[in-house]
């Protein structure tokens, strides 16, 4: 064991939450960067975060009521927010409001009903999902394309988090597999990325070797054993692999790929320059209060990014089409039912209330990211956060002019604080492609992209 390993410099919860660069002090600042990154501080990693809210929004309260006066250029230059986004007012300098983006692949295009399933499925893939009994066929999602580009840089190529467990069975939407409604992150056309919905288990997986092991010795032993175990099962799987036909190999190949990824993860987690995280950061008990839970997830996302466990995160705050009642906001009708408000003013108000509560949670994430200082600015300055839904207004199931926010500077390539109006029917995929390029991937195309989004 090296005498100089940095594991004894845990990031302190209070420092992280208290925020502000002053709270941290400069020496700690550098401690927060892995030695490797410190050596190349010019290359502070860029991060990519996608946050999805289901059932669309109340569009009348999302966009500003009165468009700013003047020319389009002038309008683009000043950002004003609709009432639903007022909780984000103090973060305005970090946010751009996007309009005109379209998710064509969430439209029926001959496949009939199922706009909810299609909206979440297509949001990051921009591919038309296949409607079939017992099958899925989609495409790789933007976050997974980013993860593939960054593979090997962090222990976890990407993180997939959800505020609601996926539905393992049952009807979800008009003949589409439930997997579409409960996953925005897709590793391939036929494989959604497994979604973590328990904050405590997520923490343990990221920072405690999966088993709430508190001492380094324990984790070393555990990792050693895990490695032998992986060796053993890899050989087992390889032996089986030889005797199977091609379709039947698929399941086994997934198993083998998972084993290989875990081996890399183990190795990366043993690197000496990895930041430790103090025990008091471990969420206590999973709270059942929805918005508290979402905040805890956001804290964990911030922590995972700050400690460079991963650089790519997706967060599906609730499954698409979710019909939970927001009793905590005094709303007794299910979200999905409400979203079909038929222009009923009381219902539209309730939807706006949900939108506002969700915006408040986004504010919490932005605050967390902004208060974590690293080389080249705050964590938020080095990130792009895409927030929104694949449905515009839930009432009409439309998929154009989607409610999308783009937050952060992503290392200076984004200039937030503006209203970016795209031409009608600009593919959402153009935004994805733009961000992938900003990350350094040389993707030619993503989904139905027609080019990169003009954000300048």
């Amino acid at each position: 064991m090296s005498l100089f390993h940095r594991r004894t410099n845990p990031i302190d919860r209070r420092a992280l939450l208290r925020g502000g660069s002053a709270a941290l002090g400069l020496p700690l600042l550098e401690a927060m960067l892995p030695a490797r990154a410190l050596a190349q501080s010019a290359l502070t990693p860029k991060r990519l975060i996608y946050v999805y809210v289901p059932n669309g929004v109340n569009m009348e309260e999302w966009f500003p009521h009165r468009p700013p006066e003047g020319t389009t250029a002038a309008a683009n230059a000043t950002l004003s927010l609709g009432p639903s986004l007022l909780p984000l007012a103090s973060h305005k300098q970090h946010i751009s409001l996007l309009s005109g983006l379209t998710l064509d692949k969430a439209r029926p295009n001959g496949d009939g009903p199922g706009d909810h399933a299609r909206a979440s499925a297509a949001f990051l893939t921009c591919v038309q999902p296949l409607k079939a009994e017992g099958a899925v066929q989609l495409g790789i999602s933007a976050d997974q394309a980013a993860a593939a580009h960054l593979r090997g840089k962090t222990p976890f190529p990407s993180l997939t988090v959800g505020g609601e467990a996926p539905r393992s069975s049952g009807q979800c939407d008009s003949g589409y597999a439930c997997a579409y409604s409960s996953h925005i992150s897709w590793r391939s056309a036929t494989q959604p990325a497994a979604k973590e919905t328990d904050p405590v288990r997520l923490f343990d997986r990221l920072f405690r070797g999966g088993a709430n092991l508190t001492t380094i010795t324990e984790r070393r032993e555990h990792a050693h054993r895990r490695r032998s175990l992986l060796d053993y099962v890899r050989e087992d799987a390889s032996k089986l692999h030889g005797v199977l036909g091609s379709t039947d190999r698929q399941t086994l190949e997934r198993y083998l790929t998972a084993v290989r990824e875990l081996e890399l993860q183990l190795a990366a987690l043993e690197k000496e320059d990895l930041h430790e995280v103090a025990d008091e950061m471990r969420p206590k008990n999973a709270t059942s209060k929805r918005f508290d839970r979402l905040r805890i997830f956001n804290d964990l996302i911030t922590l995972a990014l700050a400690t460079d466990r991963t650089r790519v995160v997706t967060f599906l705050t609730a499954n698409e089409g979710s019909n939970r009642a927001y009793s905590e906001l005094g709303i007794n009708e299910g979200h999905h039912s409400l979203s079909h408000h038929g222009k009923n003013p009381a219902k539209m108000k309730s939807i706006a209330r949900i939108d506002r509560a969700n915006a408040r949670v986004l504010g919490h994430l932005l605050k967390g990211l902004a208060s974590h200082q690293e080389v080249g600015g705050s964590l938020l300055d080095n990130s792009a956060v895409v927030y929104g839904s694949g449905i515009a207004s839930g009432n009409a199931h439309k998929h154009h002019n989607l409610p999308i926010l783009l937050c952060g500077r992503m290392g200076g390539v984004l200039r937030p604080g503006r209203h970016i109006q795209s031409l009608p029917n600009t593919p959402l995929a153009n935004l994805h492609l733009h961000l992938l390029r900003c990350l350094g991937a040389n993707s030619e195309q993503h989904g139905d992209s027609t080019g990169v989004l003009d954000v300048v």
Partner: protein
């Protein structure tokens, strides 16, 4: 046989593609296409439209007849459209079905069942929650979610299961809990400072009965003639007393006690026993005697836990007198033999032994070995690759049988038949099915199948309004989820007719749910008991709280959802979802419009495009309006009548029960659902054929549920590889 693309006229098509079954001699479905064709397309419009529909869906000609090319279908539909007009449907995009891997991962539910069977350990329901659904039944396409994140969680679970199942002679690590002064609680005093007599304590949940080391560290500010006295306390009782002779933090003392403590929450603290306070004393340092508690800590349990009975039994079977390595080897063999579909070979055991050789003790070796047996794809993946239509091997059939009937692993007896490849013999299979269905583990069938069949899995994420239904809580929900499972299980084990599922005038519930239903409490316990419903209008699952709640909105009932549920879950006749541009009916704000919900729906049914489905759904849902959005009986007048599309009057839940009991769709749909769940793939036309042939042999007019299950198991559908794999 026709060459592709050569058929150009309808006559040729029928001659070559259809006449074998729909010809002059005993035509199938009483449809003689050769005769119809000779009369021309001007006659028999309805029959031709039916033909057009079959062609548009490409279901005819059926497997294994050769399939016409797409262009051929298009040409024939074109000919039909020229004569019959626009009612002839477009050629549908071929229904794509995933290439079905005969090999699938066990579902989280099946993994939990296997762990329970193997080690007697119940795993938490959410230990492996990250499953993505493909189908109504979780077994279909299971394993889609199998990536590093999933495997990471699974390995951690396998790890904790093996730790719990196999105890080490030395405790793994001794848990240590400590609290510093300011985190201790003490009445009316701040933190660890005791300025009057009292206790500063830490409340700790002791994980089990065992030996613990309790420590308390304190120092004193002395005053008066005597030294401060302190005590270490457990739940307020002194377990050690000590005089603090020094002054200040540098003279802190530590009290240490090793003792046995019982499982549960206890308060460990430090007490200050002899307060002294003379404010008028001249020397200010002699005025006040105080104790400052710096820290309280708990180490333990220190003693190893006794071996689990699983562990003892395993080692006993593995030959207790044997030399260690041999015993370990046979223990591994026993584990792998039970957990894996195929029997382990000598080399598999050898590799397991190599894996564990570095472990410090035989118990630790066994522990890692168990984790490896579970982590192996030989456990995780089930099913078998084989030629289409050929019988499954003994092990594959036994695994399928145990998963279907028990949701678990085969037991010793079934394994013997499996490994000797005798389970495929009809006589053996019949006897095993009888035996397994009488076994208590057969509850696994009900527990796995029923929540999915009835779509009440969604109850877990459904949250009725707390304001309107404050009595709905997690316990009530659990009781609700249990009810249909218990009803199904009782009907199955007691050999009762399958139709009792929708007409039974009794149910299996606990006291809380009985109270919720307004039934007089006959039971005196929290256990599930049989209650008579003869005095009520609840019949079978139609009156079950789980269904009535899951098919409601959080704040109100939804006749549409309930009607849709009856059609979809019970009759397999789901109405198509509303077209994307359908105007959405605002059913929840009837008052504002001055119309009742019934009136609004009535209005809705007059809209073309909505009518055809709503006339079928709405009356079914209205028949259940007697029950509110959490399944309670509504008192007073409830509008619960309706008219079915065929003119039948439907009156309340009793009427609905009668209608479903005699509905010709109920039993076939139940059978198809069970069969899909049993084989883990969507049924192809050929599968349905096979199933139908088997079910036709059931001659009872009111067949017992157990007969349906037995018939499925004994059919080729269950016992063989699918025949039409190329279609899948």
């Amino acid at each position: 046989m026709a060459q592709e693309g050569q058929v150009t006229t309808l006559g040729e098509f029928i001659e070559q593609r259809c006449s074998k079954c729909h010809g002059i001699e005993d035509p199938k479905g009483d449809l003689n296409l050769v005769a119809l064709e000779s009369e021309g397309l001007g006659e028999n419009r309805d029959e031709w439209l039916l033909v057009a529909e079959e062609l548009s869906l490409q279901v005819m000609p059926p497997h294994p007849e050769p399939k016409p090319a797409r262009s051929e279908y298009l040409a024939m539909l074109g000919i039909l459209r020229d004569s019959l007009g626009d009612e002839v449907p477009e050629l549908s995009t071929p229904v794509t079905r995933a290439p079905f891997s005969a090999l699938r991962r066990r579902t989280g539910r099946e993994i939990a069942g296997a762990i329970l069977a193997l080690t007697d350990i119940e795993t938490p329901a959410d230990a492996l929650p990250m499953e993505a659904g493909l189908h109504v039944y979780d077994v279909v396409g299971a394993g889609m979610t199998l990536d590093a994140a999933w495997l990471d969680r699974w390995l951690s679970l396998a790890d904790s299961v093996s730790r719990e199942a196999i105890r080490l002679p030395e405790p793994d690590r001794i848990p240590h809990v400590q609290a510093s002064g300011r985190k201790l609680s003490s009445p009316r005093q701040s933190g660890g400072r005791l300025s009057t007599q009292g206790i500063a304590h830490l409340t700790h949940e002791f994980p089990r009965d065992g030996n613990y080391t309790l420590r308390g560290k304190a120092w004193a500010q002395q005053a008066g003639t005597r030294h401060a006295w302190v005590a270490l306390t457990l739940d307020g009782k002194r377990i050690e007393e000590l005089q603090v002779t020094g002054e200040g933090p540098d003279s802190a003392i530590t009290m240490t006690v090793h003792m046995r403590v019982t499982k549960g929450p206890h308060q460990v603290g430090v007490a200050f026993l002899n307060d002294y306070f003379q404010p008028k004393e001249e020397d200010p340092r002699e005025r006040d005697r105080n104790v400052i508690v710096e820290q309280v800590s708990i180490d333990g349990p220190l003693d190893p836990q006794p071996p689990t009975s699983f562990q003892t039994e395993l080692l006993l079977q593995a030959g207790e007198g044997n030399e260690t390595q041999a015993q370990l080897g046979s223990a591994m063999t026993l584990l792998a033999n039970r957990a894996w579909q195929e029997a382990p070979r000598a080399e598999d055991i050898q590799r397991l032994l190599e894996l564990v050789q570095e472990e410090p003790s035989p118990q630790a070796s066994l522990r890692l070995g168990l984790a490896a047996v579970l982590a192996s794809p030989r456990f995780l993946l089930v099913g078998e690759i084989g030629e289409p239509g050929t019988p499954l091997s003994g092990p594959a059939l036994a695994t399928r049988l145990a998963l279907f009937l028990w949701g678990s692993l085969p037991d010793e007896q079934l394994l013997q038949y499996a490994r000797s490849n005798t389970i495929q013999e009809t006589g053996v299979l019949e006897r095993e099915v009888e035996r397994m269905l009488q076994d208590p583990r057969a509850r696994g069938l009900a527990a796995g199948f029923v929540p999915q069949w009835l779509q009440i899995v969604r109850l877990k994420s459904h949250a009725p309004s707390k304001e309107l239904f404050p009595e709905y809580d997690a316990q009530l929900r659990e009781a609700m989820l249990t009810e249909p499972v218990e009803l199904f299980h009782s009907i199955l084990q007691d050999g009762l007719p399958a139709r009792d599922l929708v007409r039974a005038d009794w149910t299996m519930i606990n006291q809380q749910l009985a109270g919720h239903y307004g039934l007089p409490a006959t039971g005196h316990s929290k256990e599930t008991e049989r209650y008579s419903l003869t005095e009520t209008v609840r019949r079978g699952i139609l009156g079950h709280g789980a269904i009535l709640t899951a098919s409601s909105d959080p704040g109100r009932t939804s006749p549409v959802l309930r009607g849709k549920w009856v059609l979809e879950a019970l009759l397999g006749d789901a109405p198509p979802p509303p077209a994307p541009d359908t105007s959405v009916l605002d059913v929840s704000a009837p008052a504002e419009l001055g119309l009742s919900m019934r009136e609004r729906l009535k209005l809705h049914r007059t809209e073309p495009g909505c009518a055809s489905c709503h006339v079928a759904m709405d009356p079914l849902g209205f028949a259940l309006e007697r029950f509110d959005a959490v399944g309670r009986t509504r008192v007073g007048k409830v509008d619960e009548q309706g008219t079915l599309p065929d003119g039948t009057q439907l009156d309340g839940p009793l009427g609905l029960s009668q209608m479903l009991t005699s509905d010709a769709r109920f039993l076939p749909h139940l059978t198809r659902s069970l069969a899909t769940y049993a084989v883990g793939r969507p049924l192809s036309p050929d599968d349905l054929d096979t199933l139908e042939r088997a079910i036709r042999e059931v001659h009872e007019p009111d067949p017992p549920l157990v007969t349906l299950v037995r018939t499925i198991v004994l059919s080729d559908l269950f016992r063989c590889q699918p025949r039409d794999t190329q279609d899948l």
